[in-house]
Symmetry: C2
Subunit: 414 residues, 2 copies
Amino acid sequence: MTRSLPNSRDAALLARAQRVVPNGVWGHMATRAIGPGYPQFFARSEGCRVWDVDGNGYIDFMCAWGPNVLGYHHPDVDAAAMAQLKDADIGNGPTEAMVELAELLTETVDHADWAMFQKNGTDATTACVTIARAATGRRKILVARGAYHGAVPWCSPSLVGVTAEDRAHLITFDFNDTASLDQAVAAAGNDLAGILLAAFRHDVGRDQELPDAAFLQHARAVCDRTGAALIVDEVRAGFRLDVRGSWAPYGVKPDLAAYSKAIANGWPLAAVAGSERMREGAGKIFVTGSFWYGAAAMAAGVKTIEILRDSDALAHTEAMGLRFREGLDAAARQHGFRLRQTGPAQMPMVLFDGDKELQIANAFCSAALRHGVYMHPKHNLFLCAAHQPADIDRALEGAEEAMKEIAALGLQPA
Amino acid sequence: MTRSLPNSRDAALLARAQRVVPNGVWGHMATRAIGPGYPQFFARSEGCRVWDVDGNGYIDFMCAWGPNVLGYHHPDVDAAAMAQLKDADIGNGPTEAMVELAELLTETVDHADWAMFQKNGTDATTACVTIARAATGRRKILVARGAYHGAVPWCSPSLVGVTAEDRAHLITFDFNDTASLDQAVAAAGNDLAGILLAAFRHDVGRDQELPDAAFLQHARAVCDRTGAALIVDEVRAGFRLDVRGSWAPYGVKPDLAAYSKAIANGWPLAAVAGSERMREGAGKIFVTGSFWYGAAAMAAGVKTIEILRDSDALAHTEAMGLRFREGLDAAARQHGFRLRQTGPAQMPMVLFDGDKELQIANAFCSAALRHGVYMHPKHNLFLCAAHQPADIDRALEGAEEAMKEIAALGLQPA
């Protein structure tokens, strides 16, 4: 085992935080649930790299859990936001940036006839559900078992503080399972408001699944037949796979889509994009937030989408993901491990075969940290356009050292 | 009637927006619901002034509907945020700014033993309700009739797209009415999770009411007796009236408080602040958002709270509010109107007596716009620390011209 990384400043900050924040840290970035050695507090980010508060640097494969798509501190995106900030960010209404962003989004995303903007992915998924109900006058929303759609009572993965009524009108089915979807549709009867699907299956801790084209087409046909809304949760995948929308390659258009995370390369922004038949419903609901017209984030969104549309950023990122995938696979095999790498290469799930308790993954990710590679043992990873071949190769050297170390510990597939 | 203000650019932007956004604009800043002449799109803001996209400037009495408490583009706040942005905004965890902000908030706000941060006021109110349920294992939340606590199904002022179950565990009572509160408490029986109150009554279109000390003390006693959480919605009032919390002058401490709007002088931030007895419940729920650890907004929050704590910003703002109140009152009387000005002078509600359909208020606010004064006919106004006596006096000149014009139109109280 190599030395541990210095972490005294991280430990001191966590101790301070634990006095003034419940558990010190909340939500998906709390590292107490994963293996040892994860820094909790960060001091700096640049391109595909992050530095913790003790000065340890990492090649980053979480990308702020999704928002970083072009590289941290992308100069053009940040310059656009800063230029807007100088004039106006929030005021008593939107700025021209909102119109530009909505025009660009509807031109770029194949299913979008209109857009509205928010701050959180959960704002967008919640608005989609509300719009579907407003547009149809019905209540039931079909959701895939195990899918994550946000962190408020109607959709939170935790039931603590949640009442049964918060989910009274949800009906579950299995992703990519047409018969299961049909059962849920039947259960909804004439009260079907919408079908909510992630862009692809990216549940925590299990193999990812791209959607079957036939399954998407079936869901589309059900919505066409019943008038329900086909809703795609693009919060995690949106503007990472295809700037036209993640289902564009399948030729299936949702009625409503929730975007966030990557849409403004880290500036806080979310969006609902909808089709013409949902416009009236969207115009009838009341949704708002104090900062939703914040123009700096919108200017950042415009620049981010333009770059994604006009450059090879996404193709490059996918290529880097494939390079990383192949290298990881080779490193694993060399040390007696077999990986299951699933989903799109630019947001891969990396699991070890025969690792039911995630012991191997936890040990591997902890070891990788010490070699300057930041990954996650059970959540999908994210690559960004700032990853260059040299970064990937250096990360693979670290990953190979980590594989060697966990093999030496005697960790082996069950 | 004076000339109309130029608005060709505003009209053109609205026409563009209507193609790509349902109704062109959503939420509380859509001006279609109020009188004519309101610009919808803004280009610039500075101090206590905003400029619309046609170049018309206004002395602003809405302050972005609350976030602007120190003045738009406050140099120290923006410098703190920019310095943080240079290092890290979002990453794979929080930065030291989160710890500093939570420490400062708990030192400054008298009822706060811990804090958690979000992006929207609605995030904070929703988290308060979830924490109250988690902490008590009960479900009923008591809310005052007509109060605004956010724009998601459980609390939205609109029922469109909302199901009955979204509000299944809400019980209403009348603000400042102890008997009414007691009835609601009785209705909740042994399922009382919390009592949710605005810092003061600031419902749209009606006189504001400060809380009665006896009412707050009664609500506090009910929560002490039952173990329920006393929750204050400080989203609108927080960090405007008293940096220690709006109820500090009453000596009543809530268990949970939702802050947003003014907390970071316009940078997108919200907070839940809680007492020790709610800490465990807060630590058990799952709440998160992609941008909630955004460090730039947190650095802005630290600087904003420091300035509010260490300067006379709030006392100055209140003095400016009183100067405005007195001047408005005199201008109204001079032209045969009688105003009902209620609530704190720094966030006043200004209504015309005998103006049930808001005809007078709409005409007055439209006229005031033409004289360079931005107000709202039925929502409380906001002043900020950047308002100086000369700004108030100039705004009063505009207001007096507007009073003269509406009197000349023959608009008179019913």
